[in-house]
Amino acid sequence: MPALIREEIAQFIEGEGHRVEVSLLEETEELAEIAFRTRGQMFSIAVSEVDPTRFSISTAYEVPEWLSERAGGAGDSLRDVEHEYPGTRFMLAHDGTIFVATIDFEAPNVGEFTGQFWRVLGRLRDAGNSAVERMVDRSESKAAADKFIRQFMRGDR
């Protein structure tokens, strides 16, 4: 009986030094999530036993509280970064308090996936970090512009 895809991937990640948690997403045992931690960040891999060529790697970031309360919030920044990192999807969740970054990866077999694994994960991390930086930059430049406009309107400048 061939090894389950989730078991092969979990063994690979454990072999790379990381503890993993595998959870089944359906009673049919066809969809599973493999969670592990690296560089202080949790990542999860979604795998399907019925479609063993598709894998999704995801990680979540907190949206700064002060930003999630503003109109427009984080959405604009996420759209910008999606263009810069093709293949990465961003989704706001939990009422805009977090965003999830995901890369969907197609590979003919598990070996091909694991061979590219850390490179793909690095790209996902870069995209996520870039989105966080963009949110902060955008907010800071907007705050600076607001301040300038307010002072200009008062005639201080």
Binding site: E16, G17, H18, R39, G40, W118
Partner: protein, 135 residues
């Protein structure tokens, strides 16, 4: 601290906090922890007769064809500007070693900074090999 006590125990917890798996390899003189992160191997060493000293590091083989003088020059430039990490070229073995050496009252002091120290070890090794490729 009592000589002979396991003064690296707090670092086992730090490794677990990072979600990593470790193994121990102690002997009469030294305490050693080895672990991997993203497939790269790291070690922690302490000495039973010097419980204030802790070394965290990683070692890499130099690719064939690399000139040791060039490697040492890059190591030297990294040592000038990098915080925490010492880069050394072990000429006889043709290895590059990246270590953080600390003097602590207790390894518990390292625990909250462990992730940062791993990051600088990883980044320094990456920079070293990137510069080596450019030479």
């Amino acid at each position: 601290m009592t000589q002979g006590a396991d003064h690296l125990a707090p670092l086992e917890t730090a490794i677990e906090d990072e979600g990593l798996i470790f193994s121990r390899d102690d002997d009469d003189e030294a305490l050693r922890i080895t672990f991997k992160s993203e497939g790269d191997r790291y070690f922690i060493v302490g000495y039973r007769d010097d419980p204030n000293f802790v070394m965290i590091g990683s070692g890499w083989s130099l690719p064939a064809g690399v000139l040791l003088g060039e490697a040492a020059e890059i190591a030297n430039s990294l040592n000038v500007r990098k915080k925490f990490v010492k880069t050394a070229v072990w000429e006889e073995e043709r290895d590059a070693l990246f270590t953080v050496e600390l003097c602590v009252t207790s390894a518990e002091e390292i625990r909250p900074h462990f992730g940062r120290l791993l990051d600088v070890l990883r980044d320094t090794a990456a920079e070293f090999f990137a510069e080596l490729r450019e030479e």
